[in-house]
Subunit: 132 residues, 2 copies
DNA sequence: GCTTGACCTAGAGCGCACTCGAGCTGGAAG
DNA sequence: CTTCCAGCTCGAGTGCGCTCTAGGTCAAGC
């Protein structure tokens, strides 16, 4: 039991694939992951924590490009805190917007469902125009 | 002023591009759009209405493949009402789940923002481990 | 009558975010 | 020892949902 998780374990833990984890590292979302004596990656807690945040950012629709930008800022140190905060605040707003849009669009779907249910079991509408 | 909208007008109205409208027709999301004397598409109200629904379905994350399936059912007539209803209900559930997930993930982003704000203007943390 | 601009078709191309194939290595279990 | 599995690298491939190019037609405005 060495310390840290293998790529497979880490992948399982954060809900991504091993492929994706290696790719995230390659594109600069993760720091180069330390290797064991055989050259295999060992993910530390800090790597997993970063991944936890990254997955939330992705899941809320942040493009990988922007996440890379964010991580670049992280690497640049404290001087970029304000910019990172701003990024996150902008993203937060975008997510709220997204939720709002979803709710609005869902209302349309709901009305459609109501209409389907309203006609359920009713005979009529033989040759009337079919509404999607 | 002929009746119906040109592809450009229809696109503008539903918030898609003319390219996309033609492509939607090609993949079977729209019925073949009637043409004017010069062979140009004229979108009727019913086409626009269908597009309005389709855009909501897309915007809530339904894959085009499923939308095509849905429209196929529409074309098959009343016999498929139940299946269409079921599709919509399943999709509705998926959207609710999506909103839920977004809210959960947003909470993580929010905590991150709080931490950034908590340290705002504070000097310390010279050489401490940088947290993303 | 000419130009302009929107439209037409068929098919190619693109951006994104992974995902996988091929060929190899190395530690662990029977 | 051999078999096996997980991991390694590099580069290519995939699926989705558009988006654009090329080469042409047509009708309206100057």
């Amino acid at each position: 039991m060495e310390d840290g998780l293998s790529v497979g374990e880490a992948a399982a833990k954060v809900g991504l694939t091993a492929y994706t984890l290696r790719w995230y590292e390659q594109v600069g979302l993760l720091e180069p992951i330390p290797r064991d004596s055989a050259g295999r990656r060992r993910y530390r807690l800090s790597d997993i924590e970063r991944l936890d945040l990254l997955t939330k950012m992705r899941a809320t629709g942040m493009p990988v490009r922007d996440m890379v930008r964010y991580i670049t800022l992280v690497r640049e140190g404290d001087a970029t805190r304000a910019e990172r905060l701003a990024m996150m605040e902008r993203h937060r707003t975008a997510v709220l917007q997204q939720i709002d849009d979803l709710q609005r669009d869902l209302a349309v779907i709901d009305r459609k469902i109501d209409r389907y249910r309203g006609f359920e079991g009713v005979a009529g509408k033989k040759a009337g125009p079919r509404r999607p």
